[in-house]
């Protein structure tokens, strides 16, 4: 399925393979990495960002597309919603049906709370389902939570909030235990030892996996557990605004039935925002590895209600998105491909960088190669080679089918056998490093009974996230949020619900001259092509 021009370049990759396999490419120094990021990482392109004009983060920058949503009005501004007759009345309302939301719901239920999930698509339609490579936890004898802390803190440019990172690494082994006891099938050796590998930027092999369906295996198990517990899940229903009371607490949310267009009201003593990421906003025109619903809704709801954002200007571009063929453009090629030994190689067959630098560094190096004419041209841009046949040479025939079957299947659909030929990759918009700010207990600081978990949180990873720390954070912070929300619900007395904050927000927009910006949250990306 490759073009003749691509096949010519493949010959150069094959010609250097034996020599490359004898030498490990040098890792960059801290100075080299810093210069590379400044020159090529999309976070350093000022034209991709704008200043936030209203709200608690006023004066800070955010991606253009997110700023546009923050500068938009509530769709409820001119609606008459009766908040006194809730359709649902619960202890804990979980907004979002991904890994964090499901974990939170299970733990809240375990703690005896009356909990429900609302989600705008189906439970499990989430980035969790698409996580391929694995989940980190320092549970091997040569490793420790302290080493994990160091790797994540350095990989995130020393910007992670220590109290959040502490929880992440200290509760990681228990997250693995919990998942295993729920029945997640981790890759294990015959003696029960977890099969673990490196990820970019790890100093110990602590990546646990379930082939390359790691997130899918975790998500379908959590979903099954939610359903077994008969926790109510209201699907195809979006939270479009939080409601508040005179004490500054949240009292629930206004929901939108995505199919009928009707509004519903949910009242809750505690609310957990677990709405995930923002890849479908396509920052700077990048394709994305994210699921259809990743439109930053929770950030918009939370921000409008007064919860601050943190690191909203740092985005993760996964180095290896599909560059070719166009049908799967932007889809994720798991980092595990590099963990298993595949090198990144430019069009001349040169291994221009170590394959397991952190994601921001690795992505920047690919962008540099392509910008300097060392990339392979494709119909939609350009890319570099990921030399997958090396995996079979290093670990034996059949390794690709056994360890990364999803990747093999995805490419075989288009006539490309990655066991025999390398594949073309280019960075894809993958993860929102920033999000709503929480304290070590999982609660937002501004609103006492509002919690955030999963990708919607900012500060756990700092300004770059390591592979395998996101599947970990949704479990660790999801579980914590569920427990904390259930406990807090016992002490909360709610006042009368109102939507005064959206009126105040509209006023602020108007004063800033921004009242024409549109409505948010976005809910679904606008992909439909209309002739007029």
């Amino acid at each position: 399925m490759f073009t003749d021009y691509m096949l010519e370049s493949i010959k150069k990759v094959e010609a250097t393979r034996a020599e490359r396999m004898r030498t490990e490419p040098r890792r960059m120094t801290a100075e080299e990495k810093s210069e590379l990021l400044k020159a090529y990482h999309p976070d350093y392109r000022p034209e991709g960002f704008a200043e936030i004009k209203i709200g608690v983060n006023k004066g800070q920058k955010a991606p253009l597309e997110l700023t546009q949503l923050l500068h938009s009005n509530s769709r409820l501004l001119n609606e008459d919603i009766d908040l006194t007759k809730p359709d649902y009345d619960v202890d804990v309302l979980v907004i979002g049906g991904g890994g964090a939301g499901a974990s939170a719901a299970i733990e809240a239920h375990e703690a005896g709370a009356n909990v429900m999930i609302v989600t705008k698509l189906r439970i499990g339609d989430a980035n969790t389902m698409m996580a391929e490579g694995g989940i980190q936890a320092a549970d091997k004898p040569n490793d420790s939570p302290v080493q994990h802390y160091l790797d994540a803190f350095g990989g995130g440019h020393f910007a992670a909030r220590p109290e959040l990172l502490r929880r992440l690494v200290m509760e990681a082994p228990d997250a693995i235990r919990w998942l295993n006891e729920l029945g997640v099938m981790f890759d294990k050796a015959e003696n029960g030892d977890m099969v673990t590998t490196h990820g970019g930027g790890t100093s110990r092999k602590r990546m646990h996996a379930c082939k390359d369906y790691s997130g899918a295996e975790i998500m379908r198990t959590l979903r099954d557990e939610v359903l077994n517990r008969k926790i109510p899940v209201v699907e195809f229903t979006s939270a479009v605004e939080l409601t508040k009371d005179d004490l500054g607490q949240v009292t629930g949310a206004v929901l939108l039935n995505m199919e009928t267009g009707d509004y519903l009201v949910a009242r809750a003593k505690t609310v957990i925002i677990a709405t995930g990421g923002a890849g479908r906003l396509h920052y700077q025109g990048f394709p994305t590895s994210n699921h259809y619903g990743a439109t930053a809704d929770g950030l918009v709801l939370g921000y409008r209600a007064g919860a601050p954002l943190l690191y909203q200007d740092t985005i993760q571009y996964h180095p290896t998105g599909v560059a070719y063929p166009s049908q799967i453009f932007g889809a994720l090629v798991t980092e595990k491909v590099r963990s298993l030994g595949a090198m990144l190689v430019n069009k001349d067959g040169e291994a221009y960088a170590h394959p397991l630098e952190t994601r921001d560094v690795s992505a920047s190096a690919i962008i540099r190669e392509c910008a300097n004419g060392k990339g392979v041209d494709t119909p939609l841009g350009s890319g570099v080679w990921l030399d997958t046949p090396m995996i079979e040479l290093l670990h034996g025939e059949g390794t690709i089918e056994k360890r990364i079957p999803a990747m093999l299947r995805m490419y075989l659909n288009y006539g490309i056998d990655m066991r025999k030929v390398p594949i073309l990759v280019y960075p894809t918009l993958h993860y929102q490093n920033g999000g709503l700010e929480i304290g070590g207990d999982g609660f937002t600081k501004a609103i006492p009974n509002l919690l955030v978990a999963g990708e919607a949180v900012g500060g756990i990873h700092g300004r770059n996230r390591l592979m395998g720390n996101s599947l970990l954070d949704i479990i660790v912070f999801g579980r914590n949020a569920g427990k904390a929300a259930a406990a807090k619900a016992k002490d909360v007395t709610l006042g009368k619900s109102n939507l005064d904050h959206i009126t105040a927000y509209a006023q602020a927009l108007s004063e800033a001259g921004l009242e024409q910006a549109g409505v948010s949250p976005l809910l679904l990306p606008k992909y439909a092509r209309h002739k007029k």
């Binding site: 339609d125 549970d139 006891e181 294990k188 029960g192 110990r204 099954d224 049908q327 995805m410």
Partner: protein, 224 residues
Amino acid sequence: MENLVNVYFFGKRYQVPGDLTIMTAMEYAGYTLSRGCGCRHGFCGACATIYRIKGCNELKTCLACQTQVQEGMYIASIPFFPTDKRAYEIKDLKPNQQVMMELYPEIYSCIGCNACTKACTQSLNVMQYIAYAQRGELEKCAEESFDCVSCGCCSVRCPAEISHPMVGLLARRLTGKYIAPESQHVTQRVAEINRGEYDAMIEQIMQKPISEMQELYNNRDIEK
């Protein structure tokens, strides 16, 4: 002009570029999807689709996000299929043949037609994993069904009305929880953390100034 092909969404003809997937072709035609669209990368099973090529008798199943359009495709998405999941408490189950008999007895009504396997969008041997489940070979059922994305195309086509993805899921949970050997190193590390053995060290590293952390990070040894 790019190469256009004729496709029929729910019987209505549209002309779309031939290099699109069924999903992107629907969007090209003007559809805004909510049902029948999930991860868009072949992992979630939301976009189960059934189609027939004009002039051919054979019905085919696929994931709309992973399948390129062809000339003359008659396409219907399956936005929801009522698979029958049984509720259970995983901690009360035992990993044996009995559990399948009790929770999914209809698997023994399989007539061996292999329609499930033919319908599988992941090219799994579905009938084989149902056979393993019948015999109580849960680990084999788990392995064989592992790449299932629960799109439900197998169940749509099954004359015995089996909810295959649910059977595979039960086998995998039982295998992960009960049959796979315990990971001693995980159990031990959890116990060490619970005993507070890392508390002092983690407190210490949290307090270090950035310059010292940079030094530690840039000079840490990396396992080969």
